[in-house]
């Protein structure tokens, strides 16, 4: 699923990342537990989370995750935005809950990791 489709389905706004570079992601994973995310072997995924802090951006960097979707109106801090820009991480913000965002994306074809 293209980033542009993820934005459309979840009514998300783009916080970091270049919308021109419309990456195609295969799978999604929803979690607030960073050490759980760090056990994943997949890379080409969207991480949907309610956790909005610097550790999220670090985790994405180490796990080679290209895009994160902050659920339920959680906002990225200036420190997060700075680090995400350095690492070319795409951060999106959606007003939807993790449940709703995950459900909508899943039913539109973004596959599960497990």
């Amino acid at each position: 699923m293209k980033i542009s489709e993820i934005i459309k389905y979840t009514e998300a706004s783009v916080v970091t990342g270049n919308p021109e570079n419309d990456k195609d992601l295969e799978k999604g994973f929803s979690s607030d537990l960073m050490s759980d995310v760090l056990t994943l072997d997949e890379e080409n995924i969207l991480l949907i989370t309610g956790l909005s802090n610097l550790q999220l951006v670090r985790t994405a960097e180490m796990a080679d995750i290209q895009a994160v979707l902050l659920a339920r109106g959680k906002q990225a801090s200036p420190e997060m935005i700075e680090l995400a820009n350095e690492n070319n991480l795409i951060i999106l913000e959606t007003p939807f809950s993790i449940y709703k965002a995950s459900g909508i994306l899943y039913s539109n074809g973004l596959k599960e990791v497990y």
Binding site: D32, M34, S35, L38, T59, M62
Partner: protein, 139 residues
């Protein structure tokens, strides 16, 4: 070749945990190591850094980049680990509420370090600290 990098970590300082793994990632990229291997190394180093921030008073990460592998030693001054076998069990955690709110404390870190590295060795003395040593082959 044998490049050595050393980083300091303070207990409780989550925003700086990740600096060592981030630098190590840059070096490995420059060495043209396979991205899958890089991920294994930096995930292990990051988990170890977070453990120092979450569980110890202060610590140090040392990375030695050799010809065929990278060796990482994470040394900390802290409470130590009384039962290493128990600590290695996935799901076992003594993390505080604050650590959990940061997105950690699932009890997955040590087992994930073991999964991603070769020859993980843990030495710990209660009341003094912990030394974690591991290697990752470049191929």
């Amino acid at each position: 070749m044998a490049l050595e990098l050393v980083f300091q970590i303070e207990g409780g300082d989550f925003s700086n945990a990740g600096k060592a793994s981030s630098q190590i990632k840059k070096v490995l990229k420059q060495l043209n190591i396979d991205t899958r291997i890089i991920k294994r190394v930096v995930v292990a180093v990051y988990e170890a850094e977070v453990n120092v921030a979450a569980h110890a008073h202060r610590g140090q990460v040392k990375a030695l980049f050799g010809e065929t592998e990278v060796e990482v030693v994470v040394t900390d001054q802290g409470p130590g680990i009384e039962n290493i076998e128990q600590a290695m069990q996935p799901g076992y955690s003594t993390a505080s509420k604050e650590v959990r709110e940061m997105g950690f404390g699932a009890g997955m870190g040590l087992s994930n370090i073991a999964k991603n590295t070769d020859n993980l060795h843990i030495e710990s003395e209660v009341g003094k600290g912990t030394i974690l040593t591991f290697r990752c082959n470049y191929s």
